[in-house]
């Protein structure tokens, strides 16, 4: 996948921008802090996910003095297919998202059109943060890799919401009436949840060798990273839901299910979340990203555009270079405040200053 050109209107501090990486290779975007480097990557990623990888709201992505931000870009797939993606965010209105001038039938299909892999400083949270973040990462990968993934994920979310509301409505009392209604949602939940867990487990299994390899290359050490999917229940989910019914009613929440599962990441047999150093956690986070990037390329036959947001400032030079070596992409766009790893031979260098592309920082 290649980004041919990108146009921004009133997106964050860019009033108007045309960015043309054109061809394969590495593009370096250099600028001081607060000039708009990350925003540029955020815009490219938005076209792939319809979200901000910084977790920003749409209001904060629309320029201060404007009511609408527009991102337009042309991509070229590995099969030389041209893909025009246009997105607009409207302050008090409905956003638009068009792929080759057509609306997508499902928003969740977006990341299958123009896949990108983003490396950013906050990736470390996936490793050391709450389990929710790891589940979200896993589900994002499931949705990209498996055709039925996104619809299963949204079905699970919907059943959990319905069941949660029902539990609250009962006032915590288990009558025969309540039991018979709960039963229906339990069955729906166990049906979709077991499908989701199946996909998550398959993903973990597929990713494990890639993560193992990526971690060794990046750390340069003979250490073993392993992933383990931990279900929040044993055996058949439906019968577990039935036996947890009283507890669920008392607490008025869904106490077991895929929303309580955990992916444990171990380094040499110890949970890296608790025992790993910051450097190890960061390396593991990047190893996860590299792993999915490579897995996606091998299975789908399209390699995502690689976006590296100032990752070299967080890592020592050898690890930074190892990342560049271990993740192969047709096109890489990376931002930096100045230091560029020696092994990188950029096809293009750009400078960003106050929301504009300039020839030099001078």
């Amino acid at each position: 996948m290649i980004l041919k050109w990108l146009e921004l209107h009133n997106f964050r501090n860019y009033t108007k921008l045309l960015f043309e990486p054109k061809s394969a290779g590495a593009v370096i975007v250099i600028g001081n802090n607060g000039q708009g480097k990350t925003s540029l990557l955020e815009a490219i990623d938005y076209l792939s996910t319809k979200k901000s990888f910084r977790g920003a709201t749409k209001e904060s992505m629309i320029g201060y003095e404007s009511d609408e931000a527009v991102i337009r870009a042309s991509f070229e797939s590995s099969h030389q297919r041209e893909i025009l993606v246009e997105a607009s965010m409207v302050r008090n209105g409905r956003d638009r998202f068009l792929v080759n001038k057509q609306q997508l039938s499902r928003v969740s299909d977006i990341n299958k059109v123009t896949p990108v892999t983003v490396f950013a400083a906050q990736d470390i949270e996936v490793v050391r943060g709450a389990p929710q973040l790891r589940r979200d990462f896993l589900d994002q990968c499931v949705a990209m890799l498996f055709p039925r993934g996104s619809s299963i994920i949204s079905s699970v979310e919907k059943v959990l919401r319905q069941r949660g509301v029902l539990l609250k409505q009962t006032g915590g009392i288990l009558t025969a009436e309540v039991a018979s209604t709960l039963e229906v949602w339990d069955q729906q939940l166990s049906f979709y949840a077991s499908k989701l867990v199946e996909l998550r487990k398959e993903l973990v299994e597929l990713m494990t060798p890639y993560v193992f390899e990526a971690y060794r290359v990046v750390s340069g050490k003979d250490e073993t990273v392993s992933l383990a999917y931990k279900c929040s229940w044993d055996g058949d989910l439906y019968s577990e839901l039935v036996s947890h019914r009283r507890e669920d009613l008392r607490r008025q929440t869904n106490s077991i299910g895929p929303h309580r599962d955990e992916v444990e990441i171990d380094l040499d047999g110890h949970p890296i979340r608790h025992n790993g150093s910051q450097g190890e956690q960061r390396t593991a986070a990047y190893a996860l990203k590299i792993a999915f990037h490579s897995l996606y390329r091998d299975r789908i036959g399209e390699d995502p555009i690689l976006l590296l947001d100032d990752v070299f400032s967080e890592l020592d030079e050898s690890r930074g270079e190892a990342i560049l070596k271990s993740v192969s992409a047709t096109q890489t766009i990376l931002t930096t405040t100045g230091n560029i790893p020696g092994i990188l031979e950029p096809t293009m260098k750009m400078y960003v200053k106050e929301g504009r592309l300039v020839d030099s920082l001078g």
Binding site: R106, R161, V165, S180, E183, V184
Partner: protein, 199 residues
Amino acid sequence: MYTQSVQALIDELGKLPGIGPKSAQRVAFYLLKIDKTDALRLADAITLARMNSTWCRTCFNISDSETCDICLDLKRDQSTICVVEEPKDIVAIEKTREYKGLYHVLQGCLNPMDGVGPEQIRVRELLTRLGNETIKEVILCTNPNLEGEATAMYISRLLASTGISVTRIASGLPVGGDLEYADELTLGRALEGRRPVGP
């Protein structure tokens, strides 16, 4: 900005499903522009339909008498009941001319988020009916979405011990369509529901 009566009209139109403030305004101005008799005919149609329509006591379809025409029609198969969510679903099924049995309208589906449980839909009435009439088959024709499936499952469980045959409509590909245009979920369902062909 508008006179009181016009504003009231816009407000009332805006309460209709699928009509936002802008559309309500457009419709209101249209109604003010057309012939008085045409506008009054619409008003009369609304009054008449609303005053004369009631729910069929048996199947809870829309009816202009205590029992609807379908329930009164003795030529229909009196041993089969098709359970649907809304009266408009009956219209859709009737258009096929494939079904000759009776109906039962639930007037909703199980949806805790909208505050709809078994008490809010006509399940109890269905059970009463099944006790009084000699029904051999119940076809569950609720929508193939999460809430519709849950409703179908709920009813099928209630009927499990009655000895009545309970069936669920198939879901799958639209006839005359192309495989390539089907979404993964529908195609997946269609594959699951495949059946043997040939003699």
